[in-house]
């Protein structure tokens, strides 16, 4: 496996721009070796759907310009499509509990909620925050916008609040934390 493949994988995974210097350090090569690898990568990408973008010090991968109409279409769909039942369910768990970790949400729903959490974040319905109980993890909390939209000022104003929150709490206990 050549250097250019390794660089491609690292840039794919990084999503953000990365300096050539830190790229070289991850790879354990000199900066000029990394530059060679980057040149090779740019050449191999010339006929592909992704591009290598380069500023003075930084590099990153992006979709190639010709594909932007499709990308815009997807972005629009992500924003405007109707919320799936799974998304509404995920949102409900977060609203009633006032904030929950991914593992709590997954446990209550019985499925992995990764994709739903992303979708709800894009649409500004929830946001990810550092967990006050455990700095290394995150909790998902409702945004102010969704409170306003639903016309409530606190979670206790949600329908059937006390009954539903009791069920959620007892499920979380069963999970063991």
């Amino acid at each position: 496996m050549g250097l250019s493949q390794k660089i491609e994988a690292i840039l794919f995974y990084k999503t953000d721009a990365i300096t050539v210097k830190s790229l070289a350090s991850i790879l354990g090569v000199t900066e000029s070796e990394a530059e060679n690898g980057l040149r090779e990568l740019a050449a191999s990408l010339s006929e592909r759907g992704i591009n290598l973008v380069r500023t003075k010090d930084e590099v990153m991968l992006t979709t190639s310009k010709e594909t932007s109409p499709f990308i815009e279409k997807i972005a629009k769909e992500e924003l405007e499509g109707e919320l799936s039942k799974a998304s509404v369910e995920t949102l409900a768990v977060i609203l009633y509990s006032g904030g929950a970790t991914k593992s709590d949400i997954d446990y209550i729903r019985g499925v992995n909620s990764g994709f739903m959490l992303r979708n709800l974040q894009i649409r500004g319905l929830i946001e990810k925050k550092a967990n006050p109980k455990d700095g290394r993890s995150f909790i998902y909390v409702p945004t102010m916008d969704i409170y306003r939209y639903l016309g409530i000022s606190k979670k206790e104003e949600l329908p059937e609040y006390s009954g539903l929150i009791e069920s959620i709490d007892s499920l979380s206990e069963e999970k063991g934390n």
């Binding site: 999503t15 924003l79 919320l83 894009i122 969704i146």
Partner: protein, 244 residues
């Protein structure tokens, strides 16, 4: 009987897993001979399940019954098996072979899991735009949540369905059988096994458990069994002079 087979959490172990472990421990392939050889170990494990709810052990008892059929071919040479009985023997062997394949495949998966992970591209940073959905109301949220909570399975629901065997255990059956044999010198198997059953399904279960119990007693030398001709009833006698 010498090796007490211990398993950490019996409620999560199935009969196929136990059976395959026993066979593989003896380095045998799945066959009538190997199954016959592990029957005693299987039954002695079964007896250690005394304190476990009957619903959990039902699967084991049904499997034990088939094992006993296989073993009984050598123990009672005159015994002839019905098509149904032959069928359950074949089925058990085939299930064991299929299970063995998947179990081996599982070991292969365990070896590669987490080594050489293919990484997903993480989500790029989000600039959220507030876009709710017109169908999103407080009431819909409450209803969806209520449904989701209702769909969480309760632990009890996950008991094996086979609750055909009510409050009958191998020990109870052995106790009752010993008592009856002692009372009357000769006892008909059919008469004994039919006693106490309330319906046809239950009587079949009684028959299976009775058979297990008899084999156990034969092994312990408490009773002797005799079958005059094929399909004939099996006589059970308390051993006084006869040693088995």
């Amino acid at each position: 009987m010498d090796t007490a087979y211990t398993v950490k959490t019996p409620s999560f172990e199935g009969p196929l897993e136990l059976l395959l472990d026993l066979i593989e421990k003896k380095r045998l392939a799945v066959s009538d001979v190997s199954l016959s050889k592990v029957t005693d170990d299987f039954i002695s494990y079964l007896k250690t399940l005394g304190g476990i709810p009957v619903a959990y052990t039902a699967h084991f008892i049904v499997t034990a019954a088939t094992l006993v059929l296989i073993k009984s071919k050598s123990l009672l040479p005159g015994l002839s098996l019905t098509d149904e009985e032959e069928g359950s023997i074949d089925e058990l062997k085939r299930r064991l072979e299929i299970y063995a394949l998947y179990r081996q495949a599982g070991e292969g998966l365990k070896k590669i899991f987490g080594r050489g992970v293919l990484f997903k591209r993480p989500y790029p940073a989000i600039t959220p735009i507030f876009v709710p959905d017109s169908s999103l109301t407080k009431e819909r949220l409450a209803e969806t949540l209520r449904e989701a909570i209702m769909n969480v399975p309760l632990r009890e629901e996950n008991l094996p369905e086979a609750t055909v065997i009510k409050a009958i255990t191998l020990e109870e059956m052995i106790g009752s059988l010993t008592e009856r044999v002692e009372k009357s010198m000769t006892l008909s198997f059919h008469k004994f096994s039919a006693e106490g059953a309330r319906n046809k399904k239950e009587s079949k279960v009684f028959l299976i458990v009775s058979f297990l119990a008899i084999l156990e007693l034969v092994k312990q030398g408490i009773v002797a069994v005799r079958q005059e001709t094929e399909f004939d009833d099996i006589s059970i006698e308390k051993t006084t002079v006869i040693s088995v």
